[in-house]
């Protein structure tokens, strides 16, 4: 039932779109080893990612998921330092290199003022920034985002995606907001029921017809007045007058 072939060129921002349950997260989780595929491969520069050691794979591909809940009280610095896990063996101590990589990651996401704060005391947008810093500290040049802007208000939604696309890494992101996806993605894949039903540039994939077909939603897709990218305008389905 799964027929998915997704290509993510180096340095590009690729979006996975589709209704709830269409398989976006499942595909991402297959890449970062939560699920094992019955068949099929995940190739990273021609090498089978799933055949790699878990630690080696984690040095190449990092993940930022939806806002995560951390049961215990870690500081921001500790959270970002956890990103060094795949680089460390059992008895290794963290050295100057780790510390400078972590400091650099924190600086790139603009969280210097938060380092000694408790992660659990941060706002949703700040948490996502810290988790992006953790992904950067992992040293990976490929970033997987699983609905990273859920629960965030509009300012943080834009800022998080703006931040991610400014990092110069290859990004594969599952996104809910089609208008935002159109603003940031170079290529998008539209999924339903575990199949790719459309792929290509956002303005070709996101249309009134495809949204109606994939999501069963009645929307108007218009052009963004500044960027020309597709923009969704919701409509009410019932008539009220």
């Amino acid at each position: 039932m799964w027929d998915v072939d997704i290509a993510v060129p180096d340095g590009s921002f690729v979006g996975l779109l589709g209704p709830n349950g269409s398989g976006k997260s499942t595909i991402l989780k297959t890449i970062y080893r939560v699920h094992r595929p019955a068949e099929g491969r995940v190739l990273l520069e021609g090498v089978d990612l799933l055949a790699m050691g878990a630690r080696e794979a984690a040095r190449r591909v990092a993940v930022v998921a939806q806002e995560s809940i951390v049961e215990f009280d870690f500081t921001v610095l500790e959270i970002v330092m956890i990103g060094r896990t795949p680089h460390k063996r059992a008895f290794d101590r963290e050295d100057e290199l780790d510390r400078s990589i972590v400091a650099d990651a924190i600086e790139r996401v603009g969280c210097q003022a938060l380092v000694s704060r408790s992660f659990n005391s941060l706002s949703g947008g700040e948490k996502q920034r810290v988790l992006i810093a953790r992904a950067l500290a992992q040293g990976a040049d490929h970033l997987i985002l699983d609905e990273p802007t859920n629960h965030l208000d509009v300012r943080y939604q834009i800022e998080i995606l703006e931040l991610v696309s400014s990092l110069g890494v290859t990004v594969l992101a599952a996104l809910h907001d089609l208008s935002l996806a159109a603003l940031f993605c170079d290529t998008v894949y539209l999924l339903t029921d575990g199949r790719v039903v459309a792929r290509g540039a956002p303005d070709r994939v996101i249309t009134t017809e495809t949204v109606r077909e994939a999501y069963g939603a009645d929307v108007l897709v218009v052009e963004h007045p500044e960027t020309g990218t597709p923009h969704l305008i919701p409509r009410r389905t019932a008539q009220h007058d």
Partner: protein, 402 residues
């Protein structure tokens, strides 16, 4: 109360107004409206993101260097152990305690009463308390990370309930009688192993060990084993039930040298393993999926953690009974003192848990001397207020984020 204004909007609304009777609204169409001042994001751009510290001063947790913290804890532990040996129904001065220990280490012990009290009675007791305290604290820390739940304690895995069944069978029905002084330990270890296997296999879904399943199966099977214990007590000799109840509440009253090697060896092996897994444990505290994305083999780690903690709890319960509260509370006290990084929590917890138990045992046998209180009473009385004070000083973790 509504405002008593005669032009109350409520009264106005009571007038029957249909669309045709209503006075025509001023037609403010889009073309007649005065043009809105142009405020677009490009003319008034938001300032770039600056993570500014909130008005409250950011609470800095004490991040003293780990060696210093460990040294302080070690000194505290030694002081507690010396006190635990010196204080009792026969008071000794710390100097003579040291003398006895040195004499034995140098291989020429005296045959004095002091020597007998220190070497045969109090030293093994204090050491056993330290080992059990360290084991229960370590197990509690790991179980809380394993199921990602602050309320978890080492007895959650059902091991202690299984051990109780075994020990009760020994105490009431003389099972394993041929093993003599080892009978209770053997009975509780057997019970612990059976319980551990039961929880492990019942809580596996497919090949996965999931935290929720683990909690549920642990709780359910614990209840089952506890009812078996109750049934044994119900069927058993009423006089012997006294000793069962005392065992269930935990005590170091029967401590001797022969009980020490196995728990100590298990503790050392477990702690060495766990310290090597401190980073993966931190990753696991982020959640199973983030841990997987950080290169941690989550299933294997969970399996190993389960087995290691079950073994620690099994041998601890076998020599001391079910001492509650230590495994739940001490890990939290340690986290609140040194943060949640397992590279700090695990070693500090070993020393702190040992100290806690030595002090608890000292109190248990001196407060109502010459009687001995069950140590579970003391650990709860010591632990609960300490934790409450710390929680109220550090509110982040427990529900309030500001």
């Amino acid at each position: 109360m509504r405002p008593r204004d005669s032009e109350s909007p409520v009264e106005m609304r009571t007038r029957p107004i249909g669309p045709h009777e209503a006075p025509p609204l001023p037609r403010a169409g889009p073309h007649e409206a005065p043009p809105l001042p142009p405020v677009g994001p490009y003319e008034a751009p938001l300032p770039p993101y600056r993570a500014e510290p909130i008005a409250l001063p950011a609470r800095r947790r004490d991040r003293r260097p780990l060696p210093v913290v460990l040294l302080v804890c070690l000194v505290l532990l030694v002081v507690a152990m010396v006190a635990g040996i010196a204080i009792g129904s026969v008071g000794l001065n710390p100097g003579s305690v040291w003398q006895v220990i040195l004499d034995h280490l140098e291989g020429h012990p005296n045959s004095t009463v002091t020597d007998a009290i220190v070497w045969e009675i109090r030293l093994p007791r204090v050491l056993l308390a330290a080992v059990v305290g360290a084991a229960l604290t370590t197990a509690g820390t790991v179980v809380q990370a394993l199921v990602r739940n602050s309320l978890a304690d080492p007895f959650l895995l059902g091991v202690s309930s299984g051990a109780s069944v075994g020990a009760t069978a020994v105490l009431l029905f003389g099972a394993f009688a041929s093993l003599g002084v080892w009978a209770i330990s053997a009975g509780s270890v057997c019970g612990a192993v059976v319980a551990m296997a039961a929880v492990f296999f019942v809580s596996r879904t497919g090949r996965q060990l999931s935290p929720t399943q683990l909690i549920l199966c642990g709780v359910v099977l614990s209840a089952l084993f506890e009812s078996v214990t109750s049934f044994l007590i119900f069927k058993g000799n009423p006089q012997a039930t006294q000793s069962v109840l005392f065992w269930l509440l935990g005590s170091f009253g029967n401590a001797n040298w022969t009980q020490l090697p196995i728990p100590a060896a298990v503790l050392v092996v477990a702690i060495v393993y766990l310290v090597t897994q401190a980073r993966p444990l931190n990753a696991l505290a982020m959640g199973a999926e983030p841990a997987a994305s950080l290169g941690v083999d989550v299933q294997r780690l969970r399996r190993n953690l389960f087995v290691v903690t079950s073994l620690m709890v099994g041998v601890a319960v076998a020599v001391s009974g079910v001492i509650g509260f230590v495994g739940l509370v001490v890990p939290h006290i340690v986290r609140l003192l040194v943060g949640s990084d397992h590279r700090r929590v695990l070693p500090v917890g070993v020393l702190f848990g040992a100290t806690f138990m030595v002090v608890g045992d000292l109190l248990a046998r001196t407060i109502v001397s010459p009687q001995e209180m069950p140590i579970g009473v003391i650990t709860a009385f010591l632990g609960a207020p300490t934790l409450i004070v710390l929680i109220r000083r550090r509110p982040y973790l427990y529900g309030t984020t500001q």
